[in-house]
Symmetry: C2
Subunit: 407 residues, 2 copies
C-alpha cells in the first residue's frame, strides 16, 4: 500500500494567492461594474526588450537548422552564460568559478529545492515575514511540525519589523540554515554590508549555511548597498546565493535563474566542495537544464545592449514604486521599502489586520494588494503593494487609494 509524504499534511491549507483570488472573484461577482486594479502579485507586465527578443528569435533559428541544432546540454547551463554571470560577480568583487554557478529555470524552484541537499535534522531560520516558499519547502522536507495560524513549530522565525529596520537580529539560539532575502520580498528592505557581515560571522562561527535570495538585486540603485552576499568577506565559506532573470529582464514566464554554490562553502560533515557536488548531483539527477532557447535569451540579456534595456525596465517599474510610496505617504500612511526594491510595505492604518485592510482596500478603492500576514506571523498588521504594472494602471490605483480610502 503506497503511503503519501505526510509532511504535506502539515502545510496550512489556504495558500496566500488562491485566497486573494477567491476574495477578489467574490467581490467582482457582487460588483460587476467595479474595475479592479491589481498591485498584488509581483508579476512583470512590460514586454521583453528588443535585444532579448532578437536573442530568443536567433535561438529558435539555431534549433531550426541542422548545423546549429542542440539537444540535451549541461544541466548546469551554457558555459557562455555561466561565464557571463561570473563576469558580473567579478564586477561586485566576488571571484567565482564557472562551475560554482548553476543556471536553472528560476529562483523559485531553486529556493524550494535547495533544502533537499540538507539533512532533515537541521534547524532552519527564516525572516519573518518571508517569501512563503522557504517555509513551505522545509515543511514538505520534514523540518517542522504542523502549521497553525501561519506558524510552524521547529522553525526559527527571525522577526523583521520597524524596531530593526526590517532586517533580523542575529539569532540567539543555534540555527543551521538561514534564509535571507535582500532586497526583501515582501518588506522592500535592503540589507547593508554591515548587516550581512553580522550574519556571515554568525554562520562561520556556527558552521551554519546562509541561503541568500537576491532575486531583486537589479532594483538596488544605491551603490553603497551590496547586490550579492559574496561582496562580504568570508561569505564563500558559508553562503549559497539564488538569483533570477525574472524581475531584471521580465522573465517571470520565460523562466531562467541561477544558483551559486561555492566550493568553499562547507557544513558540519562536509568536506570542501561537498555542497557544490551535492547540488551538482541534485541538478544532474532531478533537472535537465533550463530551456536552450531561454538560455539564448539570457545571454542576450547579459549583453551590453541587453543590460541597458534591463536597466530601463527596472527604472520603469521603479517609477511605479515611487508613485505608490509617495501616494501613500501623502495621505499619511506609514510605509517602507520601494526605494531600492519594487515592493512597498505599508503599516495598516488604525490597527487593522492585514486581511481586514485587504477587504477595505478592495471594497473602497477596488485595489488588490497582498496581506502581510500571508508572509508569516510577523507580517500581521502590514500590507504589500507591488510596483509591477503599467504606469497608467498604477497611477490610477494610487489615485483611487488617495481619494477613496476612508481613514
Amino acid at each position: 500500500m503506497a503511503k503519501i509524504n505526510a509532511h504535506y499534511l502539515k502545510l496550512e491549507a489556504g495558500y496566500l494567492f488562491p485566497e486573494i483570488a477567491r476574495r477578489t472573484r467574490e467581490f467582482q461577482a457582487k460588483n460587476p461594474d467595479a474595475k479592479l486594479m491589481r498591485l498584488g502579485i509581483g508579476n512583470t507586465t512590460e514586454p521583453l526588450t528588443p535585444a532579448i527578443v532578437a536573442g530568443l528569435h536567433a535561438g529558435v533559428d539555431k534549433l531550426a537548422d541542422v548545423k546549429t541544432y542542440t539537444g540535451y546540454g549541461d544541466e548546469q547551463g551554457f558555459v557562455e552564460l555561466r561565464e557571463a554571470l561570473r563576469t558580473r560577480y567579478a564586477g561586485y568583487g566576488a571571484e567565482l568559478a564557472a562551475d560554482e554557478i548553476f543556471v536553472s529555470d528560476g529562483a523559485k524552484p531553486d529556493s524550494a529545492n535547495i533544502q533537499s541537499i540538507f539533512g532533515v535534522d537541521n534547524v532552519v531560520a527564516v525572516q519573518d515575514p518571508a517569501y512563503p516558499v522557504y517555509v513551505d519547502s522545509n515543511v514538505i522536507g520534514g523540518r517542522t511540525g504542523k502549521g497553525e495560524k501561519g506558524t510552524y513549530p521547529g522553525l526559527v522565525y527571525m522577526r523583521c519589523d520597524e524596531s530593526n529596520g526590517f532586517f533580523p537580529d542575529i539569532p540567539k539560539q543555534k540555527v543551521d540554515i538561514i534564509y535571507l532575502c535582500s532586497p526583501n520580498n515582501p518588506t522592500g528592505a535592503v540589507a547593508t554590508h554591515e548587516q550581512l557581515r553580522g550574519f556571515v560571522e554568525y554562520a562561520l562561527k556556527h558552521k551554519a549555511v546562509i541561503i541568500f535570495d537576491s532575486a531583486y538585486a537589479a532594483y538596488i540603485s544605491d551603490p553603497t548597498l551590496p547586490r550579492s552576499i559574496f561582496e562580504i568577506e568570508g561569505a564563500k565559506k558559508c553562503c549559497i546565493e539564488l538569483n533570477s532573470f525574472s524581475k531584471e529582464a521580465g522573465f517571470t514566464g520565460v523562466r531562467l535563474g541561477w544558483t551559486i554554490v561555492p566550493k568553499a562553502c562547507v557544513c558540519e560533515d562536509g568536506a570542501e566542495g561537498e555542497l557544490n557536488r551535492l547540488w551538482l548531483r541534485r541538478q544532474t539527477t532531478m533537472f535537465n537544464g533550463a530551456s536552450n532557447i531561454v538560455q539564448y535569451g539570457g545571454l542576450a540579456a547579459l549583453s551590453e545592449a541587453g543590460q541597458k534595456e534591463c536597466q530601463a525596465l527596472v527604472a520603469y517599474y521603479m517609477v511605479n514604486a515611487r508613485a505608490i510610496r509617495e501616494g501613500l505617504q501623502a495621505i499619511g500612511l506609514e510605509c517602507f521599502g520601494g526605494v531600492n526594491a519594487p515592493y512597498v510595505w505599508l503599516k495598516t492604518p488604525g490597527g487593522l489586520t492585514s486581511w481586514a485592510f485587504f477587504d477595505k482596500l478592495l471594497t473602497e478603492c477596488h485595489v488588490v494588494g497582498t496581506p502581510g500576514s500571508g508572509f508569516g506571523p510577523g507580517g500581521e498588521g502590514y500590507f504589500r503593494l507591488s510596483s509591477f504594472g503599467h504606469h497608467e494602471d498604477v497611477r490610477k490605483a494610487v489615485e483611487s487609494i488617495k481619494t477613496r480610502l476612508k481613514l
Copy 2:
C-alpha cells in the same frame, strides 16, 4: 552546524554517462585521428520542424508586445495545452480532466520529483535494467540503503531479460510503488495490454501506485500496443503517467513534458484526489511552470501540421533503428527492441561484460554505445545502441561495426 542530506552519500560515485565520457576522451587522446561515431546517449539530432519553429517565433513575438505579454502563468501549464493533451488521451480511449494533466519542463524532472509526494516508508520496485533516475531519486529520497556494485538494498529489482521478453513478472512480495517504462529505456521492449493489465490488477489489489513512463510512446507504430497506461481498465485508480515532447518533437534541449495524476488515483492513507492535490501542491510550491515560449512551441507540436511533422521525425529516427538492428543481426549479434522503440538492446557476444564490450566497440569500431550494466545489475551482459543520429552517421557506425568488430 548545517548537516547534509546523507542519503546522497549512498549513491554510487561513477554515474554512467560521465564514465562513458571519460573513457571516450581517453581513447580519443591516444588516437587523435580516430573519428568517433556516437550511438550512446539518446539525444535528438534533427532540427525542430517548421510548424514548431513558427509556433516558437510567434510565442517570442507575443512576449515582445505589451498587448500579448504574459508573466507568471499557472504552474500546471497553459489551459489550451492541457486541453490539447486531454484530446490526445481521449483518442486513446482515456477520459481525463484538464486538471489531471500537469505540464512541466520534462519527464526527467517529473520522474525524479514524483517520489517526493510519497512517504519514505514505501517499498519501491523498478524494472531491472531501468532508466537510472528512478533509482537515484529514490536513493536521495531515503528509500534505500547504500549502493554497492549497482544494487541498492531496499529496492525491489524486477528482472527483465530474454526469459520474460524484457517485461517483468508481477512481484511476488508486496511493493508500494512500481516504476514501469514502455517503450522501455534501455531495452526497447514495449508492454502489451495484457502485460500492463497484470500490473494494474496487482496495484489495485495491493493499493500500490504505478509510475508509468511513456516518454517514447510516439515510437509505437503497432496499433495493437498501448501508448498510455490509461488504456487499461482501472488504471486511473492506481497509475501516474509521465510523458515528454523531447523525443517526439526534438525538445530534448527545449524542455517540455507532462505528468498525469488522475483524481481517482489513491493510496493507503489518501482520500480520492489526494495524490492529485499533493502533486499540485508540489508543483505550485517547488516549480513555476514551463517556459511560456516553450509552451507555445508545444501547442504547435500538437497542431495537425505539428503532429504530421513529429511523425516524420519519429520515422526518421526509426530508419536508424532498423539499420542498427539489421546490421547487428547480419553479423550474428543477438538483439532486441528497435521496432516500436528507438533503442536497440544487444546481447554482448562471447559473454563479455557490458564495459568490456564498450571498450571493444570503441577501440575496434570507434563506436560509442552505452553499457547495459549502467542501467542496473540486470543490464550486465547487454549493451544499448541509440537511434538518435543523422542517417549518414548511423549508417557509417553500423558499417564500421559490421566490418571491424572482431567476433
